[in-house]
């Protein structure tokens, strides 16, 4: 089994700050971070009723399918995807090789502006994810438990979930 992906509070706050600023700088409606397995990491924007869980899983499926297409034609991947709609548009790009950044924008912004702002934000987020990786590795090397809520889970706890 692979090791779990972990997100700590401190880095979560930093990521939140980056996407909040990105949303403002790019004049976007919504900015969203999701891991490649479809788990939502952070979100910011004005689209309050958006179903972010579905957005996360469909984005991950979309990126996985496009990566599959890329491999078929001998490409390593398509790091940027862009979908143009009648009102809203989607810009999808990869951060730190395993995280997907999604931006929803309308006519108040433009693809050029979004791409420009994404570039800077991506560099910042890459460093934050590097810090998370280092932290996880260090704690694992030192044998420190990550204070997991599941370290002492009992079968009764699990049974209770289904009652």
């Amino acid at each position: 089994m692979s090791t779990p992906v972990v997100l700590y509070e401190q880095e979560y706050e930093q990521l939140k700050r980056v996407i909040t600023r990105l949303c403002a700088d790019a004049n976007a409606k919504f900015v969203f971070l999701v891991d490649k397995n479809g788990q939502q990491i952070a979100a910011h924007g004005e689209m309050l009723n958006l179903d972010t869980t579905s957005l996360a899983s469909l984005t991950a499926g979309n990126v996985a399918a496009t990566d599959g297409l890329a491999h078929l034609i001998g490409e390593r991947g398509f790091p940027v995807l862009s979908h143009e709609g009648e009102r809203d548009n989607l810009h999808i790009s990869i951060v730190a090789t395993r995280v997907i950044l999604v931006i929803i924008f309308d006519e108040r912004s433009s693809l050029g502006l979004v791409r420009l702002r994404v570039k800077r934000a991506t560099a910042e987020m890459n460093s934050i994810f590097e810090v998370i990786d280092t932290k996880v590795e260090r704690e694992r090397d030192m044998g420190i438990s990550l204070d997991s809520p599941f370290a002492e889970i009992t079968e009764e706890d699990i049974d209770a979930l289904f009652n």
Binding site: P4, V5, Y8, S57, S145, L146, I153, F162
Partner: protein, 197 residues
């Protein structure tokens, strides 16, 4: 791959329903969706063809409740069962935490079951997983049909490692939650084994 978010105090796990085409994978998810309270579930997404055959995947997010202060959320996926959708099937296994194999008990689907299990083992291997180590449950579906192989013969043929086996009639909900519970339990106990990190 389990995702532990200490900021929002959430743990997300991914469970994939695998098996031959028309075996009842989507029906399992549909039953779970229909019988779960609105506040515990998200939208059931089905990327299907016009004839309701799964094209890419079905997806159902499910909140099971809180364990030790952490919200426990399971993301349930199905794969397309038809043989020629193998490329899509492979993609969905990425980051899986637990597997359910939904077997079709009808005599004439035995070969399809066996082919699908071999396919599962091969595709897991490509992602670096070993079926022997992944939390895994076998469901023998369609037990209400007249032309079924006996449960013991099916188990003998399809069981890989003494995994929990449940007889099911997914369209009536028989065995559906037992299956889900058994796989969820294994996933959570796996987290305990790994210390969550």
């Amino acid at each position: 791959m389990t995702f532990i978010n200490y900021a929002s105090r959430e743990i997300n796990c991914k469970i994939v329903y695998y098996g031959p085409g028309l075996g009842g994978k989507t029906t399992n998810l549909q039953y779970i969706y229909d019988s779960t309270a609105a506040q515990s579930k998200g939208k059931l997404i089905s990327l299907a063809t016009e004839t309701d055959r799964t094209l890419f995947f079905d997806f159902l997010p499910l909140d099971l409740g809180t364990v030790r202060g952490f919200k426990t959320r399971f993301h349930l996926y199905t794969v397309p069962g038809q043989v020629f959708y193998d490329a899509s099937r492979k993609l969905i296994l990425k980051g899986v935490d637990g597997m359910v194999f939904v077997a079709d008990s009808q005599r004439e689907r035995m070969d399809a079951n066996i082919e699908a299990i071999f396919n599962l083992e091969a595709n897991l291997k490509q992602h670096g997983y070993d079926l022997m180590k992944v939390p895994y449950v076998l469901q023998l579906n369609k037990r209400d049909l007249p032309n079924v192989v006996s449960a013991s013969d099916l188990t003998a043929e399809l069981s890989r490692k003494g995994e929990p086996v449940f007889e099911g009639v997914a369209n009536r909900g028989v065995g559906v939650f037992d299956t889900l519970k058994a796989v969820a339990k294994q996933v959570l106990l796996e987290l305990r084994k790994n210390g969550g990190g």
